[in-house]
C-alpha cells in the first residue's frame, strides 16, 4: 500500500474531495479557493461568485453539512470532507423541498443569489426541522439579494420545513 507523505506542497497538490457524494481528485495550488475549484476545475457553475471576499453569501456551499462561504474557504482545507453544492441536493430529478418552495413562493428574481440562499436554508433545516420565520432570517442574513426577494425567501424557508416534515 502506498503511504501518503506527511507533508505536501508548497506547489499544487492533488486533493481528494467528496463533492455531492462523488469522490474527486483535483490539483490545486495552496491559495486556490473552494469556489474557484468548484466552478473552474469541476465545472459546477451553480455556485456563484459575487464579491469573492466573504461579504455576500452567493457562494455558500455545505462542508460536512455546515454552510461556508466557498470563496474564502481553501480547497486544500477540504481534503477528505464532504462538499455539497446546489447541483447535489435534488435526487433523481426530484427537487429538494427548499428548491420546490422557492419556485412556489417566487423566492427569487434574477436568481443569481438563489443557489446560496437555498444552501443556507438546506443547512438550517438539517439542524432545525421546525424553524420559525426568525430562524430562517438568521440563516440567510449572510446572503445578500440585490433584487430584494427577501420576503418570499423567508416564506419559502418556512414552507419548505413544513413540507419536509409532512
Amino acid at each position: 500500500m502506498e503511504r501518503m507523505p506527511l507533508f505536501r506542497g508548497p506547489d499544487a497538490i492533488d486533493v481528494a474531495l467528496d463533492v455531492n457524494g462523488r469522490k474527486v481528485s483535483v490539483r490545486v495550488g495552496p491559495l486556490r479557493s473552494l469556489l474557484d475549484t468548484l466552478r473552474d476545475s469541476l465545472g459546477l457553475t451553480g455556485t456563484k461568485k459575487v464579491c469573492n471576499e466573504g461579504d455576500c453569501g452567493a457562494c455558500t456551499v455545505l462542508v460536512d453539512g455546515r454552510p461556508v462561504y466557498s470563496c474564502i474557504t481553501l480547497a486544500v482545507a477540504c481534503e477528505g470532507r464532504a462538499v455539497e453544492t446546489i447541483e447535489g441536493i435534488s435526487s433523481n430529478g426530484t427537487l429538494h423541498p427548499v428548491q420546490q418552495a422557492f419556485i412556489e413562493h417566487d423566492a427569487y428574481q434574477c436568481g443569481f443569489c438563489t443557489p446560496g440562499q437555498v444552501m443556507s436554508i438546506v443547512a438550517l433545516l438539517r439542524a432545525n426541522a421546525s424553524p420559525s420565520a426568525d430562524d430562517v432570517k438568521r440563516a440567510v442574513t449572510g446572503n445578500l439579494c440585490r433584487c430584494g426577494a427577501y420576503t418570499n425567501i423567508v416564506k419559502a424557508g418556512v414552507a419548505a420545513a413544513k413540507e419536509a416534515k409532512a
Binding site: 451553480g46 434574477c110 436568481g111
Partner: protein, 764 residues
C-alpha cells in the same frame, strides 16, 4: 394579414417622450374589458424557468466557459484625472501565459459613446480604462496588469458635486462644469409667491447609489473568422449588438449577442460596455474566446451609478392649495453625457398651476452615472414629496388631503393630453385604509420603547411604463404539437419568460406549461431594452398578436386535416374543438408533419394624443429612536396603478424588490469618494450597505388592477420602476411626523437624523 404600413408613435423612455415609427400589418386586437376572466392572464403562475434557477442549471454570462478561453483584465486609472503619456507593456507580455495587451497606442480605433477609442488620452475618473490584458487565467491577467508601466501626467480634478459647481473648481468642459439639461415653466410663479399664505423653501440632497447587480458586468466573446458571438449580462441584446457594430464596424450579420439568464439589471446594463469591446477586440486579435468580467470593486468604480443630487424646492400655498412651485436640481453626472431629470415628477404628478423647474448636469471626475431604476424620479420624488409635507405642516392641513386636491386629473399637466387611465386617487384610498391613515396624529405618537417616536407618512408616484414599438414575436407550432415563442427581449429577473408564456398560452388556448420561450438572442426577432418599465407593455402585445396569427393559421390547417369548416373550429385547452369532437393539437400537428405554422406579431403604435402613465402611492409606518437616530421601518404599504396585472405572483415580487432597493436608497446606501484622491472608499459589499433580510419590514402590496384598455391590446403597463420611486419620501415624511425633525438628505443615516433632531429642537 394586410399590407405593411408605417405609423408614427410617441413613446416615453426614462421620463422623456420620443417620436418613433412603427411598421404594422393588419389590425390590432382590443384589450379585454375589466373583470373579464381569462384562462392564463391574471393568474398567479410560478416561473416557467424556476427549476433552472433553483438547481444552478440556469446559465449566466459568468458561467460561460469555452474551450481555449482566455481571461481579460482591465488596467484602470488610479488617478481621478491624468494624461496617459506612454504605456510600456513589455514586462507584462513577457509573462508566460500572457497573450495580448491592448492600450491607446496599439488598440484599433473602436468608437464608444461618441468617442473614437475606448482608451482615452485623458483618463477622467479613478477606474477609467487604460489597458487590457488577455491571459490563460484571470489570476495571471491580474498579475500582468500590475507589470504595465504607465506614464501619467496628473491633472487637477474635482469629484464632489458642490465643489464642481464652485467658481474656483477645475474646469472640466469648455463651457464649465454646470450644463443645463432641462427646464419647464407654466403660469406666473412670481405672482403666486407674492399672494401666498404660506411659503416653504428647502434644500434636499441625495447621495450616489451604486447598482451592485450581483452578477457584475461582463462579456464572453468568440470570433470564428466569420461571426462574432458575444454572451453578455445585459438588459438589451440588440443594444449590445449595435454598440459592437459601431465599435468594430462589422455588418450586423456578423454579430450575434446572447443573454440567457442574467444576474440583475437595474439600468446600468443598457448597452455595450468597454469590457464587451475589450473582450471582442482581444478575441479577434488572439483567435481565442475571451472572457472579460468585472470584479466587485471594478463594478463599483466604472459601471455607473445613480448620481448624487442637490435640489432646492420652494412652494407656495393659499386657500388649502399649492399655488406655486420652484424646483431646481443639480446632478453629479461624472463623465456621463446624459442626465436623468429629477424635476420630472414635479412637472407631471400634480396640476400645479404655476411652476418653474430647471435641471442641471454637473461634470466631475467621479465615476459616471448610468440609468438606475427610475433615474431622476427617485431623487426628485424624495425632494418634491418631502417639500409638500413641509408645506402641509406649515398650512396645518393633512398632507394626503393636500395631494388629493392636485392629483388624479384627467389630463397630463405637461402635455395637456388626456391620460389613458389615471387611478392615483384609488391608490390613496387603498393605501390610507391599509396603513390606518386615520390614526395619524400631527406630532406623531409614542413608540414601542420610551426613546422611540412613531409616525406615518406617504408619498405619490408617477412614471411612464406605456412602452411602444418596435417589438416583434413569432410563434411556431412544431411537428409534435409543441409551441415555441420567440421574442427579442431578455429576462433580467422580472419574470419576462413567464408572463410572455402566459400571454401566448392565453391567446392560443393552450396550457402555459406547453409554451417554450426563447429570448435573449439577436438571432430572434427584434425587441427593446428591458428598462424604463417597458418590456411587458412593448413585447406583450406583439406576443399576443403572434399567438393570434399562429392560432388562425393553425385552425385553417386543422380545418383541412379534419375536413371541417374553419368557422366551426376553435382551440380550447390544447384541443381543436368542433361541434362533436375534441382533437389534441399534437394529433393535427402530426398529420401536418413538417408543414410549419409560424405566426408573427408586432407592437402597434401607442394611441395618438394621449398620455400613458403609471401611478402609485406608498405609505410608511416608522419608529425613530431619538437617542441614536436610528429609523425602524415597521411597515410599507405599496399601492400601484399599472393597468392589468398579468401575473400577480411575479408582480408582487417586483414591488417588494423595488421597496427593498428604495429602503437602501433611503436609509443606508451611499458611495463615499475621497475628495483628495478621487477614490471610491466603499467599493465592496461590506462597506457599501445594501439591505439584508434583517432590514426588510412588513411590505403590503396592493394593485388597483384595472386594465388600461386604451394603452395597448393587453391593457397592461410596466412595473419595474414604480415601486422604487416614492418609498424614501414616504419614510422621510413618516420620520418628520414621528419626531418633528425633517431629514433632507438621503440616505437618512443616524448622523443625519440626529442632526435634524438637534435642529428641530433648536428651532422649537
Amino acid at each position: 394579414m394586410g399590407r405593411i404600413r408605417v405609423v408614427k408613435s410617441r413613446d416615453e423612455f426614462e421620463g422623456e417622450i420620443y417620436e418613433s415609427l412603427a411598421l404594422v400589418e393588419g389590425n390590432d386586437l382590443r384589450a379585454a374589458p375589466s373583470g373579464t376572466e381569462l384562462p392564463e392572464i391574471g393568474h398567479a403562475r410560478p416561473r416557467i424557468d424556476g427549476t433552472q434557477r433553483v438547481t444552478g442549471r440556469a446559465t449566466f454570462t459568468h458561467d460561460i466557459a469555452l474551450p481555449g478561453m482566455l481571461h481579460a483584465v482591465i488596467l484602470r486609472s488610479p488617478y481621478a484625472r491624468a494624461r496617459v503619456r506612454a504605456v510600456d507593456a513589455k514586462k507584462a507580455l513577457a509573462l508566460p501565459g500572457v497573450h495580448d495587451v491592448i492600450h491607446r497606442f496599439n488598440a484599433p480605433k473602436a468608437a464608444f459613446r461618441g468617442e473614437e477609442t475606448i482608451f482615452r488620452e485623458e483618463v477622467r475618473f479613478v477606474g477609467d480604462e487604460v489597458a487590457a490584458v488577455a491571459a490563460d487565467t484571470a489570476g495571471l491577467a491580474h498579475a500582468a496588469i500590475a507589470l504595465i508601466a504607465v506614464d501619467y501626467e496628473v491633472l487637477p480634478h474635482v469629484v464632489d458635486l458642490e465643489e464642481a459647481m464652485a467658481e474656483n473648481a477645475p474646469k472640466l468642459e469648455a463651457d464649465g462644469n454646470v450644463i443645463e439639461a432641462g427646464k419647464l415653466s407654466r403660469g406666473d410663479v412670481r405672482k403666486a409667491f407674492k399672494h401666498a399664505d404660506a411659503v416653504i423653501e428647502a434644500t434636499y440632497r441625495t447621495s450616489t447609489q451604486l447598482h451592485n447587480s450581483l452578477e457584475t458586468h461582463g462579456a464572453v466573446a468568440q470570433w470564428d473568422g466569420e461571426v462574432l458571438t458575444v454572451w453578455e449580462s445585459t438588459q438589451h441584446v440588440f443594444g449590445v449588438r449595435e454598440g459592437l457594430r459601431a465599435a468594430l464596424r462589422l455588418p450586423l450579420t456578423k454579430i450575434r449577442v446572447i443573454c440567457d439568464y442574467m444576474g440583475g439589471g437595474f439600468g446600468s446594463k443598457g448597452g455595450v460596455g468597454k469590457y464587451s469591446i475589450v473582450a471582442a477586440l482581444l478575441a479577434m486579435r488572439t483567435g481565442r474566446p475571451v472572457r472579460c468580467v468585472l470584479t466587485r470593486r471594478e463594478e463599483n468604480l466604472a459601471a455607473g451609478n445613480r448620481s448624487a443630487t442637490l435640489q432646492t424646492v420652494k412652494l407656495a400655498g393659499a386657500d388649502g392649495r399649492i399655488t406655486a412651485v420652484e424646483h431646481v436640481s443639480w446632478s453629479n453626472s461624472g463623465q456621463g453625457k446624459w442626465v436623468a431629470n429629477p424635476t420630472g415628477p414635479t412637472n407631471t404628478l400634480y396640476d400645479f398651476p404655476n411652476l418653474n423647474t430647471r435641471s442641471y448636469r454637473v461634470v466631475t471626475n467621479a465615476g459616471s452615472l448610468s440609468a438606475f431604476r427610475a433615474p431622476g424620479y427617485v431623487e426628485g420624488t424624495f425632494a418634491i414629496e418631502s417639500a409638500i409635507d413641509e408645506l402641509a405642516d406649515k398650512m396645518g392641513v393633512d398632507p394626503l388631503a393636500l395631494r388629493r386636491t392636485h392629483a388624479g386629473k384627467p389630463t397630463d399637466p405637461r402635455t395637456g393630453k388626456p391620460y389613458t387611465l389615471n387611478r392615483i386617487l384609488d391608490c390613496y384610498t387603498i393605501g390610507a385604509r391599509e396603513i390606518g391613515w386615520s390614526r395619524r396624529k400631527a406630532g406623531g405618537t409614542r413608540g414601542s420603547t420610551p426613546h422611540r417616536r412613531r409616525g406615518l407618512g406617504m408619498a405619490s408616484q408617477i412614471w411612464g411604463g406605456g412602452g411602444g414599438p418596435p417589438a416583434y414575436a413569432t410563434v411556431h407550432f412544431n411537428a409534435d404539437g409543441t409551441v415555441v415563442l420567440r421574442a427579442g427581449t431578455q429576462d433580467i429577473g422580472t419574470g419576462t419568460r413567464t408572463v410572455l408564456a402566459q400571454i401566448c398560452a392565453d391567446e392560443l388556448g393552450i396550457d402555459v406549461g406547453h409554451v417554450s420561450v426563447r429570448i435573449g438572442d439577436t438571432e430572434g426577432p427584434y425587441g427593446p431594452i428591458s428598462a424604463g418599465s417597458l418590456t411587458l407593455a412593448s413585447v406583450g402585445p406583439a406576443v399576443r398578436l403572434a399567438a393570434k396569427d399562429a392560432r388562425e393559421q393553425f385552425l385553417a390547417a386543422a380545418a383541412g386535416v379534419l375536413e371541417t369548416p374553419r368557422s366551426e373550429l376553435r382551440i380550447e385547452r390544447g384541443h381543436v374543438v368542433s361541434r362533436g369532437a375534441r382533437t389534441p393539437i399534437a394529433d393535427i400537428s402530426k398529420k401536418l408533419e413538417n408543414n410549419t405554422v409560424i405566426g408573427k406579431g408586432s407592437r402597434f403604435p401607442n394611441p395618438e394624443d394621449t398620455s400613458i402613465k403609471t401611478f402609485g402611492a406608498h405609505f410608511a409606518d416608522v419608529e425613530v429612536d431619538v437617542r441614536t437616530g436610528e429609523i425602524f421601518v415597521l411597515k410599507i404599504v405599496a399601492v400601484h396603478d399599472i393597468g392589468r396585472i398579468v401575473n400577480p405572483l411575479t408582480a408582487a415580487s417586483q414591488v417588494e424588490g423595488g421597496v427593498v432597493q428604495a429602503l437602501g436608497f433611503a436609509l443606508s446606501e451611499e458611495r463615499i469618494v475621497d475628495r483628495g484622491l478621487g477614490r471610491v472608499m466603499n467599493a465592496n459589499l461590506e462597506w457599501y450597505k445594501i439591505p439584508t433580510v434583517a432590514d426588510v419590514p412588513e411590505i403590503v402590496v396592493r394593485f388597483v388592477d384595472r386594465p388600461d384598455r386604451k394603452a395597448n391590446n393587453l391593457g397592461a403597463k410596466g412595473l419595474g420602476e414604480p415601486p422604487i420611486i416614492p418609498t424614501a419620501a414616504a419614510v422621510a415624511n413618516a420620520v418628520a411626523n414621528a419626531t418633528g425633525a425633517r431629514v433632507r438628505h438621503a440616505p437618512m443615516t443616524r448622523a443625519r437624523v440626529l442632526e435634524a433632531l438637534a435642529l428641530a429642537e433648536a428651532g422649537s
